[in-house]
Amino acid sequence: MFYISRYSRITNRLLVDQGKVIYGKEEGTLDDFLAGAFASLSVAYPKFYKMDHLSQLGFLAMEVLARESQVKQRYAPEQIALILSNAHASMDTDKVYFKSTKTMASPALFVYTLTNIVTGELCIRHGIKGENAFFVFPQFDSKQLCDYVDMVLANEKTQACVAGWVDVIGDQHDVFLYLVEKQNRNNALEHRAEQLQKLYQLKYGTVDGRS
C-alpha cells in the first residue's frame, strides 16, 4: 500500500491546498485568475508568463504541492515520478496556435501544442528526473491513474509520485494533483481509487468563506 500525503486542487477559479482555499478570484478572465494566483505565491519565475494555460495551471498546483510537502528536499530527483492526465490534451493551445497560422504562426505557441510540455515545465522547475507519463482519458479516471501510479511505485527506484489531472479548454479548468509516497507520513490517506475519487469530488467555497 502507498500513501497520499498531500493534494492540491484548482477548480472554479479557486486554488486549494490540502482542502483549504488559499486563493480565489471570480471576476475577470482566466488569465487574471492565473496571474493573481501566481502573484499570491510570491514565486520569482518569469517563465510562468510565457506558459500556456495548461502549463500555468499545472505549475500553480505543483508549486503548492511541492512547497508544502517538501518532496524535493526528501527525495533525489530520480526518485520522484510525475504522472498526469486530462481530457482535452493540448486542444486549448492548439486552437490558439491554429488561429495564429492564419497570419503568422507563433513559435512560442507552437511549443505548447503537446500535452507533455506541462510535464516538462514541471520537471524543469522542480528538477524531477523520475518516470513520467501523460494520459488522455474521457474524464478523471481514478482507477486507471491509481493502477498506473501503483505500478510506477512498485519500481524500487521510485519513492514518490506526483500524479493527477490537469485539464483546460477555454475558461473551463480542472486540476487535481496529489503526492503519493511509499512511506506513511503523518497518517496519510491510503492510495486507493475510491479515495482519489472522493478527494477529486470535494467541493470548495470561496477564499473568504462564501459558497
Binding site: M104, A105, A108, V111
Partner: protein
Amino acid sequence: MEQLMADLKKQIIEALNLKHLKPEDIGDEQSLFVEGLGLDSIDALELIVLLQQQYNIKMANPQDGPQIFKSVKTMAEYIRANQPV
C-alpha cells in the same frame, strides 16, 4: 530612433509575453539574451516574426540573429537600415 526603441520595447513585451516587465525596465543597450532579459531560442524566433509582422523585414541571413538581437538598440539600427521604404 528614440521613438522606434520605445515602440520596440512595447512590442517585445507583447510578443514575448513578458508581463512582469514594463518598457522602462528594458535598457536600450541591455542584453536581451542570457544574462540580460534571459530570452531563449524560441524568443529569438518570435523576434524574427516580430520584424516581419511589424516592420515587413525578412531576415536574409538567420546567422546574423545574435548581432541583430543583441539589444533593443541593435534591433532598432537593423530596422532603420533594412525597412522597406
